[in-house]
Subunit: 456 residues, 2 copies
């Protein structure tokens, strides 16, 4: 740990350079991230060009800005030119506009043009993820020619393991893996081994859809086509792993009623974290006033029978949990493409049966209260019946809401959490008070006082 820091303190620069050469760029980036600015820059300049470019790509946003401020325009320009285009674009999109201008003004015109095009793709689109470094082949090349081409040019390409076969208009006609090329005979034509039924993305496609296709087809790279079927870039699996992680984090955050954090937890200030959380807390707190209104409406019932109050938290908790179990499974199922909106009726029917099973068990277990609180048996019966009804209702609502959200092109995770909570809370209280009001006379309880009526 912190090897570099130590070597820097000892002043043994030769040893430091040797160590840097042997280390994994990811580990170097991690150590740099914990140094102060001066040390970071010193080590950054000690690395050779290739290594420093690679390490730079693994640094986080704050470190990028720190280093960018210290570099000469000449150094910054070289750095951007050496980076893979997707990394360069990510880096530039973090910087303030004037810094971007200084850097891109210095870069070669074709790179400047590419960068400007890429910066325009919407965030979270396939276009924003792709890179332009890939191997282009032609149908009429032989495997021998293809191998020679890959060997001479491969070093500049982000991935050489999938090659893209284009016609003269750069329209993608097929893809072929390096493995197929290598294991075919020298004189085999690319046309004869290429795969014409390939999976691709379009520039504006949502990154979540792209990630699903990567998983479904076990890809390590995917071509990105423009509206005329021309290949404009490729997306590689390492970027997709980040997308998957990010989308999952976002779903989790939304299920817990939070905005999506751009930065990691420890890097975010208390103020930034609060900002992400306060909105839903406010919305939920204010909407909870409806539940308060319901309780107030039944004030007479409750003042006559405080025992009923004691079970409000338990009932709301039980139905809330039942609903969020179903909603969580649906949000997840929709996210990984396992459930689609056309499955709605199947889901409702399944949740009805699941709800029925869970509700029966919970209701019966709750009846056991009668054993140690026999005097309160009437309240226990009311509570058990309420549990039975609310659990089924909560399961159906929890299973339906995410699908309804998707039908209206809303984010299932975002919508489900607050609406589900409010609806289930309200319905639970209404069902509870209705059941109590209707059953009390039959259970020998007086509505007004909650006590058994005086014998006449």
């Amino acid at each position: 740990m912190a090897k570099l820091d130590e070597l820097l303190k000892q002043g043994s620069l030769a040893e430091l350079q040797r160590t840097l050469q042997e280390m994994n760029p990811v580990d170097i980036a991690n150590e740099l991230g914990e140094m102060d600015t001066a040390d970071m820059i010193r080590i950054f300049r000690l690395m050779n060009k290739d290594l420093s470019t690679e390490v730079f790509a693994y640094l986080d946003e704050n470190d990028h800005k720190t280093i960018a401020r210290q570099l000469t325009p000449e150094e910054a320009k070289r750095l951007v030119e050496d980076m893979y285009l997707d990394d360069a674009v990510d880096f530039l999109s973090e910087l303030p506009a004037d810094m971007v201008k200084t850097i891109t003004d210095g870069a070669a015109p074709e790179i400047r043009h590419l960068i400007n095009t890429f910066l325009k793709y919407p965030e979270n689109s396939a276009g924003s993820l792709m890179t332009v470094e890939f191997v282009r082949l032609f149908e009429t090349q032989t495997c021998k020619e293809a191998i020679a081409y890959v060997r001479s040019s491969g070093i500049e390409k982000e991935t050489i393991y999938t090659c893209y076969v284009v016609d003269k208009a750069t329209k993608l006609t097929g893809i072929v893996s390096l493995r197929e090329i290598l294991t075919s005979k020298d004189d085999t034509l690319i046309r004869d081994i290429m795969n014409t039924d390939f999976v691709y993305a379009t520039t504006k496609e949502d990154q979540e859809q792209v990630a699903q296709d990567f998983k479904k087809y076990d890809l390590i790279a995917m071509p990105v086509l423009d509206l005329e079927s021309r290949i404009v870039g490729i997306i590689t699996v390492d970027d997709i792993m980040d997308v998957i992680e990010d989308e999952q984090t976002e779903d989790l955050e939304r299920l817990a009623g939070m905005g999506h954090a751009e930065k990691g937890y420890l890097d975010s200030s208390a103020w930034e974290l609060s900002r992400n959380r306060i909105i839903w807390l406010l919305v939920l707190m204010i909407s909870a006033n409806f539940t308060s209104m319901v309780v107030q409406r039944y004030e007479d019932l409750l003042s006559g029978m405080v025992m009923l109050t004691a079970f409000i938290p338990m009932l709301m908790g039980t139905s809330g949990n039942s609903g969020s179990q179903a909603a969580t499974l649906m949000v997840r199922g929709l996210a990984i493409g396992e459930v689609s909106t056309s499955d709605w009726l199947r889901v409702v029917w399944k949740e009805f049966r699941v709800g029925f099973l869970c509700a029966t068990i919970l209701g019966i277990v709750n009846l056991a209260r009668i054993i140690w609180a026999p005097d309160d048996w009437q309240v226990t019966v009311v509570v058990s019946i309420t549990i039975f009804c609310t659990v089924i209702v909560a399961k159906i609502i929890g299973g339906s809401l995410p699908i309804i959200a998707r039908l209206f092109h809303l984010d299932p995770a975002l919508l489900s959490s607050p609406i589900l909570t409010t609806m289930v809370d309200l319905l639970t209280l209404l069902i509870y008070f209705k059941v109590a009001t209707y059953l009390m006379p039959f259970l020998g309880l007086d509505f007004n006082t909650g006590e058994p009526p005086a014998t006449p």
Copy 2:
């Protein structure tokens, strides 16, 4: 859609075979999955060996069993031998023991031995994910020799893009990417371009840790070593994507208080789904009895002032949401390795500040009730003070519980949800009733009736 089904009905087998050759194996597997058994088997037998093996690997557990039952022992044996070892092991581990015996008894002895070894690796370990098909090189080979070797043997290897350099005892001494080999000169020695600082897993390592390393180092394959540093297999990125998805689903399910489902939602029966959910519902329902007991203890207070009851749901909801926001971020942070147990104090301090900010805003907004319910201003003040205290407490508990769980080597997601709910509910009620009891005299309310005291 359902192209195959149609062609099968038309009886045009030649056309069907041509279509199969052109289709992506993943799509074929999807279509097969929706056919009845007889059709599935017919199409399965129409495919050539390589294709049927690949398609088979993409079918799900139920279809595997269906097909396995229809195959002759000879066919089953050939299928297992042709599959990549990791797929074969996955397939065999789904079958009943007697079927496994029939199949492996027929297989070649070395394959039988490998399969038996692999079946013994614990579920979710690196060993259970790996495959043995990879390219072995020696330090003293030249790039030219290496390329020739890859070209002649590559077809059998699951991935040829990373090659593994071993010594005579099959100890892994370095790894080298095919790209480096291809872009080096013919007579360069593998020794001179191989990377000796490589990332690896051990057979018993947890798959979640392996997945984290894949993401951290942007890998497409990782070697798996035994205790003597010998390479016994490799794990490829496509299997890791499934692990990431699975681990994430498990975390989500646990956060929502559910067991992990082995099968997809639509494939699970209502009974299986209920079984995964009922345990935590029961635990939470029973532990909610503590909250009922707290409410009962303050029966006098509540019967004197039913208005207080009206805010119980809102208070429990607000503090519950506050706590689960913090807990969700921690569970996620721990899962992706962004937060570690040593960060506990930083987390507590951060959650205290976040809690303070959110609590202040929520408390102040709640005070606005005074505007439209001026008569109840005392209760509103009590509720605002309670919100302020409970939100801070809930944030600190929510942030701490997952870390404490990890310290005791328990699953953060599993522990957090039920304990958090119960603790936060209890504390919220206790704080509420304490605040109400202490403040009432000062606010001019009589403890027993909740009404302002009669003027003397």
